[in-house]
């Protein structure tokens, strides 16, 4: 886990949030307790596939979207 001292601010599903500097997208999923769920991940409107999450380092100011399938008609 990256150093907890240096935090960056991000936008997570439209809300401001903080994250340790150097965190990957995969780290973020673990931090919010969503690992194991099937979801789509986007960083600044670009889709990041599951196999690329560990190598995707989050930068300050990034807009991150975590999307699932929910009920709808």
């Amino acid at each position: 886990m990256p150093d907890q001292q240096n935090m960056i601010t991000i936008q997570l599903n439209g809300e401001p949030g903080t994250l340790p500097e150097g965190s990957s997208l995969e780290d973020l999923l673990a931090i919010i307790g969503s690992e194991g769920k099937t979801m789509a991940t986007l960083v600044n409107d670009l889709i990041v596939r599951p196999e690329n999450r560990a190598g995707c380092t989050i930068q300050a100011g990034d807009r991150i979207e975590l999307l699932i399938f929910a009920g709808g008609g």
Partner: protein, 259 residues
């Protein structure tokens, strides 16, 4: 019942179900099982860790024989719908996409211009595009020419239960179409689904009528039976209407007058 063919996919059921408005995921899953449906639509939403039960991908993936048709609900422009479709394909692996663009929450009528633009782009990207549209024969034909896999005109407004208010336009769309026509939205009861199938629709998509019924699994079974009956009637050839009575028994007298 003969199977439903969309693109290269074949489905044994002509009843397509939505997954919204159910009281719980458990009731929704029971309803899908009872209906015999093979094609199910779901919406893309932001993950909320306070509501982990919202995630339907895991339980639906566990159901054998179900194909997902994600929808783009929430999009109000073609660009938003295209982005939603690409995300949905990443997530589902399914080529089906229900293009649903309704910018006005008051009436939820689909935007024909944005829907056409999005459908054209997505068809070129190899999606099996299933656009939810106003019951407009010209638009339906243009979407067919743009490469859509089907068209899904509305029977009446989403969730209204007003049935086949667009029946006469639907008849024209069905007559002119070379791709499956699926009535989507507005159906309230199984008899309306049967009528849509008798008219020659290839399938119906139902959500509210089943989800808010007193007993959703039982209502889904009733819809499945109605869809099957309507399809069989259509294939059997329904008699023409006549403006006058046409006797079914001989009218010649065979008993002499009482003496």
């Amino acid at each position: 019942m003969d199977s439903l063919q969309i693109g290269t996919y074949t489905f044994s059921s002509r009843l397509i179900l939505g997954t919204g408005k159910f009281s719980s995921a458990q009731v929704m899953l029971e309803t899908l099982r009872a209906s015999g449906t093979k094609l199910v639509t779901v919406a893309l939403r932001r993950f909320n860790r306070e509501r982990p039960g919202d995630d339907l991908f895991t339980p639906l993936s566990a159901m054998a024989g179900i194909t997902l048709m994600p929808n783009t609900s929430g999009a109000s422009t073609a660009a938003e719908a295209v982005q939603a479709a690409r995300i949905a394909r990443e997530l589902s692996g399914s080529p089906f996409i229900k293009v649903e663009i309704h910018p006005n929450p008051q009436h939820l009528m689909p935007d024909p211009i944005e829907t056409y633009e999005a459908s054209k782009i997505l068809a070129k990207e190899g999606f099996l595009v299933m656009p939810y549209i106003p019951a407009d024969p010209v638009l339906a034909k243009r979407l067919e020419e743009a490469g859509c896999a089907s068209v899904m005109p509305l029977g009446s407004a989403i969730g209204s239960g007003q049935g086949l208010a667009t029946a006469e336009m639907l008849r024209i769309i069905i007559r002119e179409s070379n791709i499956p026509v699926i009535v989507d939205a507005g159906l309230r009861s199984p008899s309306e689904a049967a009528l849509a199938m008798e008219m020659g629709c290839s399938a119906v998509l139902v959500n509210s009528a089943v989800a808010v019924a007193g007993n959703p699994p039982a209502m889904a079974e009733a819809f499945a039976g109605a869809v099957e009956a309507g399809r069989k009637a259509f294939r059997a050839g329904i008699m023409e209407k006549s403006g006058t009575a046409v006797a079914t028994s001989p009218l010649t007298t065979f008993l002499g007058p009482a003496s």
